[in-house]
């Protein structure tokens, strides 16, 4: 006979690991959701623009300069995406692709995303040679697909946003392999009407121009803030 009281007592014993919840709280406390200060805004843009020089300036250097001057604000939407508004009212989004790799730890394949263990994918690689990790924020979707074995793997990071109507818009993707992992860094993808006239497709092509934006921004921001 099913005894609801007994079942409730059994369920009460089902609890998440204590440290896991505290870990999540600590993780969110590190995330800054607030609008960036003007100084920070300018520096983030500078870092972003430094990247864009690689692909955009070659095609249209004058357009690039004008664009850089007209930057208005940068609002961080979530942990991956920031929305930029120019003083002319034009907007575009930039989404940071996470740093991701597979580590071999005593024979266990651990997927590491942004320096944190995301999943133990040993069994998935052993069985299917395939694993998919997804991370959602309010609008941004990050999909990391790992193919291969623990020794020789290929990891594809796809970045996109879910629009208001529910449709998915892919920004772009970049690839890391077990051979290139030591040199691989998280890239940034740009998207918006502002790029329509550009002869270079920055939404897709920027993956070839990866720059460590997080390091750049943090270092510069701190040193400037101390002044």
């Amino acid at each position: 006979m099913f005894d609801p009281k007994l079942y409730r007592e059994a369920c009460r014993e089902l609890t998440a690991p204590e440290d896991k919840i505290e870990e999540i709280i600590a993780m969110t406390e590190k995330t800054n959701k607030k609008k960036f200060r003007p100084l920070r805004t300018a520096l983030v843009c500078a870092a972003a623009m430094a990247m864009m020089v690689v692909s955009v300036a070659a095609a249209d250097p004058e357009g690039f300069e004008s664009f850089l001057i007209n930057i208005g604000t940068v609002v961080r939407v979530d942990r991956y995406r920031s929305d930029v508004t120019t003083e002319d009212g034009e907007t575009f989004s930039m989404v940071q692709s996470p740093e991701a790799k597979v580590e071999n730890r005593d024979g266990r394949a651990i997927l590491v995303v942004n320096g944190e263990d995301a999943a133990d994918i040993t069994d998935a690689l052993a069985q299917d040679q395939h694993y998919v990790f997804e991370d959602f924020t309010e609008d941004t979707r990050i999909t990391i697909t790992v193919d291969g074995t623990i020794e020789k793997w290929t990891l594809v990071k796809e970045v996109g946003i879910v629009k208001a109507d529910g449709s998915y818009h892919r920004f772009g993707s970049d690839t890391v392999t077990s051979e290139t992992v030591d040199d691989a860094l998280g890239g940034i993808f740009f998207n918006g009407d502002i790029f329509k006239d550009s002869s270079v497709d920055v939404s897709e092509g920027i993956a070839d121009a990866e720059v460590v934006i997080s390091t750049h921004v943090t270092t510069t921001d701190k040193s400037e803030a101390e002044k």
Partner: protein, 170 residues
């Protein structure tokens, strides 16, 4: 949501999300992943909740949806063996372990309905809303779940009480 409000909500509802995901997925590891995803969505939720009850229902709905998404994911097409939950989650008390095992042996939709109705104390209509199902469908699920649990648990009882009459040797 402020950091303080989020921390309070995470400590209050972390276990609830974990239990929902656990009932849906039968895997402690996947349940932890779902808990993390749902809590991060809560943190990034921009609108204010009207009440504590509103927040709880939002959390339950998102937890069910996220668990279903994981359940549908192609890397979970191979079923999670029942042994996985036994390894980590069986209550020490045999009677509790037995009833939880019986519930976990049901299909995911039945397990979720049973959990939301019997543990979270939701009404049938609220359970249906959380599971995005019709009220009548949820009523049927609960009816079938109860019937299966009754059968399962009474059969176990019968097996336990089997008595072999000693043979009388003249």
């Amino acid at each position: 949501m402020t950091d303080e409000a989020f921390a309070r909500a995470a400590r209050t509802y972390g276990d609830t999300i974990y239990r929902v995901a656990y009932h849906a997925l039968s895997s402690p590891h996947d349940a932890e992943d779902v808990m993390q995803t749902v809590l991060l969505r809560l943190y990034e939720h921009k609108k204010d909740f009207e009440s504590e009850e509103h927040m709880k229902h939002w959390i339950l709905r998102v937890a069910v949806n996220e668990s279903r998404r994981v359940l549908r994911s192609f890397w979970r097409r191979t079923a999670v063996p029942m042994e996985e939950w036994r390894e980590t989650a069986a209550p020490e008390d045999p009677a509790r372990a037995e009833v939880l095992e019986a519930v976990m042996a049901l299909e995911p939709k039945y397990r979720l309905a049973v959990y939301l109705y019997y543990y979270e104390g939701l009404s049938v209509a609220e359970t249906a809303a959380a599971m995005k199902a019709n009220v009548s469908t949820v009523q049927t699920w609960l009816l079938r779940a109860r019937a299966r649990l009754r059968k399962e648990l009474s059969e176990e009882k019968k097996e336990e009480s089997v008595y072999v009459r000693p043979e009388i040797i003249p």
